[in-house]
Amino acid sequence: MSDNPWAEDRGNMDRSIGDPEHQGTIPARQGGPAVPVENGGPFLIGEKMTGGYGGADILHDCTIWVEKGEIAVIVGPNGAGKSTAMKAIFGMLDLRSGRVKLDGLDITALTPQDRVAHGMAFVPQTNNIFTSLTVEENLEMGAFLRRDDISRTMEQVYELFPILKEKRRQPAGELSGGQRQQVAVGRALMTEPQVLMLDEPTAGVSPIVMDELFDRIIEVARTGISILMVEQNARQALEIADRGFVLVQGRNAYTDTGQALLANPEVRRTFLGG
């Protein structure tokens, strides 16, 4: 139950008066400016983040970072706070303490939209495409903040995901799960981000497409874009990761390179299914 007396609907399901399904969940925040800080440190870092959704804290002093052009992966049990950590880095929830820094700027105060303008892109775990818009419009929306010519980037995305070019006039809602996932990543790439954040990009995707996606992600990383992702397919993800974070109940349990974590028997046993 929420403590928000305005968000009560008394169980009302009446569709002729409201549309709760498509309602957003990201709370409106009062934005602030980005503040330059001392240089050095990782390219993007969420530092000692503590916070949650208004009730009890979900994250406790959680720190996540990624260097330029690197792939960082967050793994952990369900409900550990992986998605929450991503949201926190993207400014989708208020932190009680801790800060987020990007490229020498303290961006803790920025709203999510402003972070997009600062070169961050995010692909949520679910509901990550505009189902009623065509594939092409989805991509256009990705480039919403850009004022320059987007056709080149769009070509690149189509090169990366050829199937999308074929279906570009089709509403994205009609695509299969794997294709939707490609649209979602494509939309994010359209911002020409410096950091791409992916929340379980391979969820609901067949293994073949999953491999395909991992390939693409590596390719994207090679163009100098930092990648921060949450993965349930922890083994595959850690294999390609430069860095891995294991979260348990909102805390950093293990932090190491991907290979090292894979090699750690404790981690293998508890989180990777042996």
Binding site: N4, W6, A7, E8, D9, R10, N12, D14, R15, S16, I17, G18, D19, P20, E21, H22, Q23, G24, T25, I26, P27, A28, F90, P112, Q113, V116, A117, A121, F122, P124, N127, N128, I129, F130, T131, S132, L133, E137, E140, M141, G142, F144, L145, R187, T191
Partner: protein
């Protein structure tokens, strides 16, 4: 048998009035559906928003008439329309600022917003009556007819007259222009697409850098324009009386829901469906049948399916039938 007379009678009493009424309903339903799609609640205050916009336009029209400004043969109200739209937009934005925004920020459930809109409805209802009073106001001027029934009879030599009022012609033309503009805006422009995106997936829109406040602002402005245009057209065609606008709520909602809430195409289709069924179901086909059938078969009764007492029961019946067969409305609105 007399095909021409039958066609003219049908045109005069069914097709032209229903088209004009349908266009007005469609414009009203478009406003409702825009709010539903983007702000995600059914706005009970929409009828009164229409009344407010029309009221401003009426006052402006009177002022213009007072100054002797006219664009005869077109009604002066068309000239006053932009003022009406601007003032209404200001009112809606103000309302959003002091009322709706608070709930939006708190992620209030749509049903809470609906109840809030009831409050706004009461206030606007009172406000309009406070300013212009509860009575009928006439503000139409300029030429009344494009085609006059009597003259048509003389000219054509038919028994049946055909009338096309200027207001009907304007209604249809304006509705076409407004709808075309709206669709061009939504389908082709960046802002329009961003609004569709917002309507589709609010969170993701935010993550794409779309500014929700801007979307909301533009939505209210479009709604103000649609409501004012719909209201003024309705007022020109019939007359302006605040209470009638409140009563339009039922057919407007029926149109929007039949078409599929949240779907602009649906709103238009719904508007015409409701208007045409209201008029045809209650029309007495005696005369038309009389022209078409040989004399021996001429009907005794009125051939009226339903007496006019129950005409708006028709909108409701259509609504139920459509929902039973297609629970999402004709054009697959958002409710799944």
């Amino acid at each position: 048998m007399d095909l021409l007379n039958a066609i003219v009678a049908l045109l005069n009493f069914v097709i032209i009035p229903a088209t004009a009424y349908g266009a007005q309903l469609a414009l009203g339903a478009l406003g409702v559906t825009m709010i539903y799609g983007i702000l995600r609640f059914s706005n009970f205050a929409h009828g009164d928003t229409m009344a407010f916009g029309t009221m401003v336009t009426v006052l402006m029209t009177w002022a213009l008439q007072g100054w002797g400004v006219s664009i005869a043969p077109l009604p002066t109200a068309l000239l006053a329309l932009p003022v009406g739209i601007v003032v209404t937009a200001a009112l809606l934005l103000g309302t959003d600022r002091v009322v709706y925004r608070f709930y939006r920020a708190r992620k209030a459930k749509p049903v809470v917003l609906v109840i809030v809109s009831m409050g706004v409805m009461f206030i606007m209802n009172g406000l309009v009556r406070f300013i212009i009073g509860p009575d009928d106001q006439r503000f139409a001027d300029g030429a009344r007819f494009v085609i006059n029934a009597r003259e048509f009879k003389q000219w054509s030599g038919l028994d049946e007259g055909l009338a096309l009022r200027t207001s009907q012609a304007i209604t249809i033309v304006t509705a076409v222009i407004v709808v075309a503009l709206l669709f061009w805006f939504l389908m082709r422009t960046r802002t329009g697409k961003s609004m569709r995106a917002f309507s589709d997936n609010e969170d993701l829109a935010l993550l794409s850098g779309i500014n929700p406040d801007r979307v909301v602002t533009i939505t209210w402005m479009i709604v103000a324009a649609l409501a004012t245009v719909a209201g003024v057209l309705y007022g020109l065609d019939k007359s302006f009386k605040p209470f009638t606008y409140f009563q339009l709520l039922l057919p407007i909602f029926a149109s929007a829901i039949v078409g599929g809430l949240g779907s602009p195409v649906g709103a238009i289709a719904g508007g015409f469906l409701i208007a045409f069924s209201e008029v045809t179901v209650t029309y007495a086909f005696k005369k038309v049948a009389g022209y078409l059938l040989p004399e021996a078969l001429e009907p005794e009764g009125l051939l009226q399916l339903l007496s006019t007492d129950y005409k708006f029961a028709v909108s409701f019946a259509i609504l139920i039938i459509v929902l039973l067969v297609r629970p999402t409305g004709l054009f697959r609105g958002k409710a799944v």
